[in-house]
Subunit: 279 residues, 2 copies
C-alpha cells in the first residue's frame, strides 16, 4: 500500500481531461499507485460514471477532488435560455458538493448568436452570479471565474483577462466568488502578475498548461505538456504563492498527441514535468 | 475615365494581402476602376515586382500607398541576428520611402528560441526602436507598432495589447513612433477603447478584419470578411475618429476561402462590406 504522496506531490492534482483516455477507475488506481493526492473532475464523464459512484470511488481511494469543471455559459439574452443556464449551474453546484469539492470552475460563455456586445455579455455574467453565488455558498461550493485566452472571447468566454475576472468576482464576497488562474490563458498578459497579487485570497484554483505552437484547428486542443513551451511555470507558481495561494496545482492538458498515448505513462510524464518545471 | 473615388471610399484602402490572388498591375487596375484611392502593400510581393516599378505603377494610377507591411522582428538576443534585423528594417524603411508611404507597420517579433522572457523581449524592441526611429524620421517614414492578438505572443509578436504598444511608442517622439490599430487583434480587450483614446495622434494606421470562428490550424489565416463576425466595426471606427484619427481605413483579410475566389469580385465585396459596416 502506498505510504502517502511523495512530499513533492502534496499540492499536485491531475485534471481528468489531461488523461481522458483513462476511465475513472483507471485514473484513481493510477493516482493511488503514483502518489497523486488530487484530481480535477469534469461534469460529463462524472455524470456518465455516476455522481455518487464517482464520489465513492475517489473517497475510497483517499483522493481529493480539487475542482469540478465546469459551470458557466451565463451570457444568454433569451430569458428561457438564461433560466436553463441557471438551472444547469445549480446542478453543477450540487454535483460539486456531492463530489466533495469546494470549487466549481466557471467558463462564462461567449457572445450570443448575432451579438457583438461584449460589455453586455459580461454584465449578464454578473447578474447570473448574483443568483448562483448564494446558492453555491449554502452548499459549501465556491465559484471560480476562469478567464480564458482572448482567442476564445467570441465563442466560449467573454472574460479574457484576470483583471476582467476580478472585476466580476469582486462584486461578491471573497469566500464565494473568486478566480481560476490558468497559465495557458494568461501567460502573455503583462498585467496578469499584478492581477495575481490583486486576486490574493480569491485565487480558488491554479491550473497549468504550456503554450506551444502551432495551434491546432479550432484552437481547443493545443494545451501543451509542461515544459514544452513558452510559459515560465515556476514564475507563475511563485506569483500565486506570493499572493497567498496555498491550494492545489492542477495540470490540465488538452492535446491530441498526448491523448493518443498510454494514459498512465502520460500521467507519469506529467508528474515528472510538474516536479521539474513548476515546483 | 473614373471621375475619382466615390465619397464613401475616400478613406478606404485595400491591403494587398486581402486580394493576394491579384498581381500588382491587376490590383491597381481594379482600384482605379472601382474608385479605391489607396492600397496597403507588403514587402515581399513589392520586392518581387520591383520597388521602383511598384512605385511607378501606383503613382501612375493615382493611388496612395497607405502602409508598407512590414518591419519588425526585433526581439533577437544574439548580436549577429540583432544586427541583421536592424539592417533589414532599414531596408524596409528605405522601401517605404521609395513607395511614397509614410507608415511602416512593425510586427515586433516573438520569443527567441528557448526563451520565456516576455519583458526582456519587449525591452529589446524598445532598444531597436531607439536606432530605427531616427533613421525612419530622416526619410519621412513613421514606425507603427502593431499589437498582435495574444495568440501570436510566443511566435510572432510579444506586443499583445494596444497599451503595451503605447508603452513602447511613448518613449519616442509622437511623430516618429506610433501604433497600428487592427480590429482583429484588439476587439476583445476591454482596455482597448481607452487605449485608442490614449493613442490619439499616435494612431498611424487603422486596419480591419472580422473575428470569425473556428480558427484554422496555425491561426494565421482566420481574418474574416467584414461583417461576418464578432467585431463591431463601426464602433471601432468611431473610436479612432474620436481619438482624432483622420487617416485611411485599410481592410486586411487573410483567409483561404476568400483567397480562393476571384480577386476583383472579392474586392467589390470588401468595398460593399466596408461601406455597410464601417462607415
Amino acid at each position: 500500500m502506498n505510504e502517502g504522496p511523495m512530499v513533492e506531490l502534496k499540492r499536485f492534482s491531475i485534471n481528468q481531461m489531461t488523461v481522458k483516455q483513462l476511465s475513472l477507475p483507471e485514473l484513481t488506481e493510477a493516482c493511488v499507485r503514483l502518489g497523486v493526492p488530487g484530481v480535477g473532475l469534469w461534469r460529463e464523464p462524472v455524470q456518465a460514471y455516476g455522481i455518487e459512484a464517482t464520489a465513492k470511488l475517489v473517497r475510497d481511494a483517499g483522493l481529493a477532488v480539487t475542482t469540478l469543471c465546469r459551470g458557466g455559459f451565463l451570457t444568454a439574452v433569451d430569458p428561457g435560455r438564461r433560466a436553463e443556464a441557471l438551472a444547469d449551474n445549480r446542478s453543477a453546484i450540487d454535483e460539486a458538493a456531492a463530489l466533495g469539492t469546494d470549487t466549481l470552475v466557471l467558463v462564462s460563455g461567449g457572445l450570443p448568436e448575432g451579438s457583438r456586445d461584449l460589455p453586455g455579455a459580461r454584465e449578464r455574467i454578473a447578474d447570473a452570479l448574483g443568483e448562483l453565488a448564494p446558492y453555491a455558498a449554502e452548499r459549501g461550493v465556491r465559484l471560480a471565474i476562469e478567464p480564458l485566452h482572448p482567442m476564445f472571447a467570441a465563442d466560449r468566454c467573454v472574460v479574457s483577462t484576470l483583471d476582467q475576472a476580478l472585476d466580476l468576482a469582486e462584486r461578491f464576497p471573497a469566500d464565494q466568488v473568486g478566480v481560476a488562474v490558468d497559465t495557458y490563458h494568461i501567460w502573455w498578459d503583462d498585467r496578469a502578475p499584478a492581477a495575481v497579487a490583486r486576486a490574493g485570497a480569491r485565487i480558488f484554483t491554479f491550473q497549468l498548461a504550456d503554450w506551444t505552437t502551432p495551434l491546432p484547428a479550432g484552437v481547443l486542443n493545443g494545451r501543451g505538456q509542461i515544459g514544452d513551451g513558452a510559459v515560465d511555470m515556476r514564475a507563475w507558481r511563485e506569483r500565486v504563492d506570493t499572493a497567498g495561494y496555498t491550494g492545489p496545482i492542477e495540470v490540465e492538458l488538452f492535446n491530441d498527441e498526448l491523448w493518443a498515448r498510454d494514459g498512465v505513462e502520460l500521467l507519469t510524464e506529467v508528474i515528472g514535468r510538474y516536479v521539474q518545471h513548476a515546483l
